[in-house]
Amino acid sequence: MTRTTARPLLHRVMNSAADNLVPFQATIEVTSRCNLSCKHCYIDVRAEHELSLAEFKGVLDQLAESGTMYLLFTGGEPFTRPDFLDIAFYAREKGFMIMFLTNGTLITPAIGRDIMRLEPIFVGMSLHGATPDTHDGITGKQGSFTSMMQSIELLQELGIRVSLQTLLMDTNVHEAAAIKGLARSLGAYHVVSYQFVPTRRGSLSPFNYEADPGTLFSYFDSEPLAEDPPGPVKGEVCKAGRGICAISAAGDVSPCLMMPMKVGNIREAAFTGIWIHHPSPELTRLRSLTWDDLTECRNCHLARYCQKCMGVAYSETGSLTKPAPSACRNAAIKAEFFRRKGVIA
């Protein structure tokens, strides 16, 4: 028996799951509706006929049978759906390890107690600013910062782990250090990113809000070096479509939340049919990809700094093998980061 909380063991399990086409991690988008209108949001498609509670229960039954252990609930905003907690409690009953992504504006004390009973690994929220003006300016809704802060406090009091993420963009990068300080003072886990995502329809409009690299560097320059420079590129391309899957509010199955490639619909076929017995040609193609297929990326001098997401690349270019322009920009930023820190020449 091996026991650990460290990453390597989970990575080994993930690799084994991916090799055997077990969707060990699944994302379920319970609704595409949201009570906020974040300016950079990637969801520009609203499901007209969302899966019912009974249909979601069927999905959860199938995922449990297929070996899914980790389940991420997201939206839209999951809590806009009146029966969302019924779906979540059913998932708990089916023995999933649950995680939530929410904007934190609809969590009442009663909902907080229900979340506690669900024993999630974490509740994730996006912290867009250190001040109401900045955060609300991005979400498009006054009061969203205050209600999210109240939710964080409530969940922390209930012993629920809160995980915050911040996408550095044009209107919040100036207070990046303050955002980090706020997250620390809240006692929450916090990650910072600067990778935007195209919309579901393939619009690149979210990239209009990217932070100016110069401003990003002034933030990074004030930060201690928290990671080693990456080593040479090796290994697999991505686990999407093998150890990871996503189900949309309308029942569309895709290889990953970030990859808007419809490989089937749960209303039209059983999950195992879509995933195992009759995979679509695109899914089969995705599963067969190796670094040898990504000729431009493999030979790029920035490859080791690149955190290319296959899903973002696919939605940005429509290709599984072409470089994603946003990943190229970010790889250059990362290389410059290590250069400025004196780690590389």
Binding site: R3, V13, N20, G67
Partner: protein, 100 residues
């Protein structure tokens, strides 16, 4: 010789069989356990209806190992899981049969 009792998996843990290896996650602390194929079989049989001796017999039949070895493997594995707090050991089976 009858030893131990009827092992029962803790209902609070989450587990899946991934290609013959059982993966167990504890909700309290997100600790993950990965069992080798032999331990995985023992885990799947630990539903409170089978005595550890019977599990040893099943192990012996499946892997063609000596009875003493099978019993020792089951005992050692159950001790580890008891220590980890992810199984309990009952003196009476869930079907009412008492351990001797």
């Amino acid at each position: 010789m009858k030893t131990m009792g009827y092992p029962v998996r803790d209902e609070r843990v989450v587990w899946r069989d991934i290609a013959g290896e059982v993966v167990i996650a504890e909700r309290d602390n997100n600790t993950v356990h990965v069992l080798n194929p032999t331990a995985s079989l023992i885990w799947m049989l630990a539903d409170g209806t089978r005595h550890t001796e019977d599990i040893g017999t099943m192990l012996r039949d499946k892997y063609n190992v000596a009875p003493e070895q099978a019993s020792a493997d089951v005992s050692e594995f159950c001790r580890q899981l008891l220590q980890a707090g992810i199984i309990s050991m009952k003196n009476v089976s869930s079907e009412g049969q008492e351990a001797i």
